[in-house]
């Protein structure tokens, strides 16, 4: 067995023999599970799922910063690394053993959290266990790198605690670990896009609550892996066996490049779209049952269509749209739907309505119409209309919502999209009136493009009632 594995296994044994370490490794996360699930989620299983990601992120952060990182500094200050230095092992073995021990301790904690969440709060596990394991592995690796980088640049325990506190509280409050991201001001949300905990929290939530795939969060995973690798390289290169060895200011400055992946990711996420809407969508989902394939979310729950994150669900939704061309120009105009990526506001997917308008016989104008029928469930609250985000070719489009009752007006709106995502709202006054038998009534949402011949593209996302 290689030395680092032996040291790691011994470290785990030492944790098992230390009451304080046992408490913080196993019991403390369980206490927080009860706090999150009881106070924040109020026992609602869907909300427990929403807060499970932040909870696991909190646990990973805690063990990385206050366990792994601070332990390294403490061992150096105490002088217990000196004895290892006399043996034929290098800094790499020491760093790898810390990482391995930290990871191996993380796994039973995670299992315990899942077990307790399911037993005590009936948390539905809407995630493949392997995906959960990958998320935890990548998160642990990334934050271990972060914790070890801090331990590498701090010359004393006091210094390490100061650095840890600054990073800890920033991540704790500004990255969705405690306060849900949609509840933060817009400016803070933009800042949150630069924080690694945000990537882990939002990936957990999008996968566990929004039903998205891990692949859709490959960018976040990649950034976490890169930063973790950077952290380990710094920890290895800057490893010090003795407290008398001080780190140079130059080395400290070099270690700042640890944040480069976060900066790139932050700018990319902020540029990519409106993060707030994506986070809001996941946030709103925690109060409704999970979507099933082919059944759009009901308006009562705030979202008519989800943002097509689940490929199977997207396929079924595509079939629900009915595309028609003008009867007097059959076979000439064309229209179809497809799922594109990325979507609006930082979501992974959107819907694309595209095709070609051809002039009808004797006319230089044609049209293509797409209709989406849906029903309002019983007990739907008063609503004011429907909204969605669009972008597309600069030409006239029309949106209409047709009620089941032909005596009621069908609100129509004409708009011209451009290359940027924009929110369009279509008020429908009759939505505010309780319908005596709403669940039987079919409404139709319709997008229409007409005008001179030519290709058209309209991207649609975040269709919801307001």
């Amino acid at each position: 067995m290689i030395p680092s594995v032996r040291i790691a296994l011994l470290s785990i044994k030492l944790v098992m023999r230390t009451k304080v370490a046992l408490f913080f490794t196993f019991l403390f996360p369980i206490i927080f599970l009860f706090v999150y699930s009881g106070l924040f989620a109020r026992g609602n299983p869907q909300a427990v799922v929403y807060f499970f990601g932040p909870l696991v992120t909190l646990q990973i952060m805690g063990s990385s910063f206050w366990g792994l990182g601070l332990q390294s500094v403490m061992q150096r200050e105490r002088g217990s690394l000196r004895r290892y230095r006399l043996a034929p092992i290098g800094p790499g073995s020491m760093v790898f053993s810390s990482l391995l021990a930290n990871y191996l301790l993380e796994l039973p904690t995670l299992a315990l959290l899942v077990f307790c969440a399911r037993v005590f709060f009936h948390m539905p596990l809407q995630i493949n266990p392997l995906t959960l394991l990958v998320l935890v592995t990548v998160g642990t690796f990334a934050f271990a790198g972060f914790g070890l980088t801090i331990a590498s640049v701090a010359n004393t325990m006091q210094e390490a605690q100061v650095y840890n506190n600054v990073v800890w509280f920033t991540l704790l409050f500004l990255s969705g670990v405690t306060v849900p991201l949609p509840m933060l001001p817009r400016l803070i949300q933009r800042f949150a896009a630069f924080l690694p905990a945000t990537y882990l929290v939002t990936s957990f939530q999008a996968i566990m609550v929004g039903g998205q795939s891990l692949f859709e969060h490959r960018a976040e995973m990649l950034v976490l892996l890169i930063s973790g690798t950077f952290g380990l390289l710094f920890a290895w290169k800057l490893f010090r066996w003795e407290k008398e060895e001080k780190i140079s200011t130059r080395a400290k400055l070099v270690s700042i490049c640890f944040v480069v992946p976060f900066l790139i990711m932050g700018f990319w996420m902020n540029e990519r779209g409106n993060l707030a809407a994506a986070w809001e969508a996941t946030f709103s989902m925690m109060s409704r049952p999970p979507l099933t394939a082919g059944q759009p979310a009901s308006p009562a729950e705030g979202v008519l269509l989800n943002d097509f994150e689940n490929p199977e669900e997207a396929e079924t939704l595509l079939k629900t749209w009915q595309v028609a061309t003008e009867v007097n120009a059959p076979g000439r105009s064309l229209g179809e739907f497809e799922v594109i990526s990325p979507g609006a506001d930082g979501t992974a997917h959107a819907l694309r309505f595209k095709g070609r308008v051809e002039g009808a016989a004797g006319s230089d104008r044609g049209a293509v119409t797409a209709r989406y029928p849906f029903t309002l469930p019983a007990g739907a609250p008063s609503l004011r209309g429907i909204q969605f985000e669009v972008r597309g070719d600069t030409r006239l489009f029309q949106v209409k919502i047709t009620p089941a009752d032909p005596t009621l007006p069908a609100p129509t709106l004409t708009f011209i999209p451009d290359s940027r995502w924009q929110i369009v709202r279509l008020p429908a006054a009759w939505l505010a009136t309780p319908n005596p038998s709403p669940h039987k009534d079919t409404l139709v949402l319709e997008f229409r493009v007409d005008g001179p011949p030519g290709n058209f593209t309209l991207d649609i996302d975040e269709i919801r009632f307001y």
Binding site: R6, L10, R82
Partner: protein, 310 residues
């Protein structure tokens, strides 16, 4: 440990080390032969630990050349560590590690390792094999540190003040262990600031002060060549000037401490005859006379101008 006694296991030439403005080592040169127990003797801050840590590969030298087991400790640390065993001035291990676990863990780092059972027996730790490090007494911790130095059955053992802070009985226990190293013809370098330790354990001693090597040889050679001669301690009925006693035949030095006079003489018989004659002439009376051979401590005081405890 079978070694060729003519070969030098450690070779140090013009070793220099600086910590900022402080020149800790100013060109030290010595050799340690195979199978030898070699002592580095000097007060605190003399440069002993710096020297041993450079030999262990824990510190980089600023000048000079060092060869340990035929290797440069500054460049071939990993290979060298396979062949040496070292004990630090203070060994700290995790509080909750058991004695047996510590030995097993550290033994696993080496290509060749000694039997843990034998080490536990040899170092008197068999009964404490399940004890946590935090529960061990100072002497037991020191014995464990020595046992850890032996886990790879090393060719060269480097011991940094192995008995510092221990009481007399524990020191004697450690002496017995080091004497075993000598019996096994295992090359040993130890640093100490206890004279009795160096006299008792070391085949050869190097005295270091202010980063310089000021004497090198067997304890007997150092005393013989010290030029101090026999020490004569006398008490007189009436006080006299030490300068008067210094003028006597064969007396090389005289100091007065609390009414007693310490004379160094060579040869002693001539000095005593001259002293008796002087006292008769002065009408003084000799109350007490004690003759002693000089010790390593006397040599050290002579060479460094201060006592070890200082």
């Amino acid at each position: 440990m079978a070694n060729d006694s003519n070969s030098a296991v450690v070779r140090v030439e013009g070793l220099r080390k600086r910590y900022g403005d402080l020149e800790a080592l100013r060109g030290i040169t010595f050799e340690i032969k195979a199978g030898e127990v070699f002592g580095l003797l000097g007060p605190n801050g003399a440069g002993k630990t710096t020297t041993i840590e450079i030999l262990e590969g824990l510190r980089q030298r600023d000048g000079g050349s060092v060869t340990v087991c035929g290797m440069d400790p500054g460049r071939e640390q990993t290979a060298l560590k396979q062949r040496i065993g070292a004990q630090l001035q203070a060994t700290v291990l995790p509080d909750k590690i058991r004695v047996e676990e510590a030995l097993t863990l550290f033994a696993s780092f080496y290509r060749e390792s000694a039997s843990i059972e034998i080490l536990l027996e040899q170092f008197g730790l068999a009964e404490k094999r399940r004890a946590f490090f935090e529960k061990l007494s100072g002497g037991q911790k020191q014995r464990l540190a020595l046992a850890l130095a032996m886990v790879n059955n090393p060719e060269l053992v480097l011991l940094d003040e192995p008995t510092v802070g221990l009481d007399a009985q524990l020191r004697r226990d450690i002496y017995a262990l080091i004497e075993r190293f000598r019996d096994e013809r295992r090359t040993t370098l130890l640093t100490t600031h206890y004279i009795e330790e160096a006299e008792r354990l070391c085949d050869r001693v190097a005295i270091i002060a202010h980063g310089q090597l000021i004497a090198l040889g067997t304890p007997r050679e150092l005393v013989f060549h010290s030029g101090k001669g026999t020490r004569i301690e006398v008490s007189l009925a009436k006080p006299v000037s030490p300068d008067c006693l210094k003028q006597l035949d064969a007396v090389t030095d005289c100091r007065e401490v609390d009414g007693r006079y310490f004379l160094h003489a060579q040869p002693a018989a001539v000095a005593i005859a001259a002293l008796v004659k002087f006292l008769e002439a002065e009408g003084n009376t000799l109350l007490n006379l004690h003759i002693a051979q000089p010790t390593l401590e006397d040599v050290f005081v002579e060479m460094t101008g201060r006592r070890m405890e200082n």
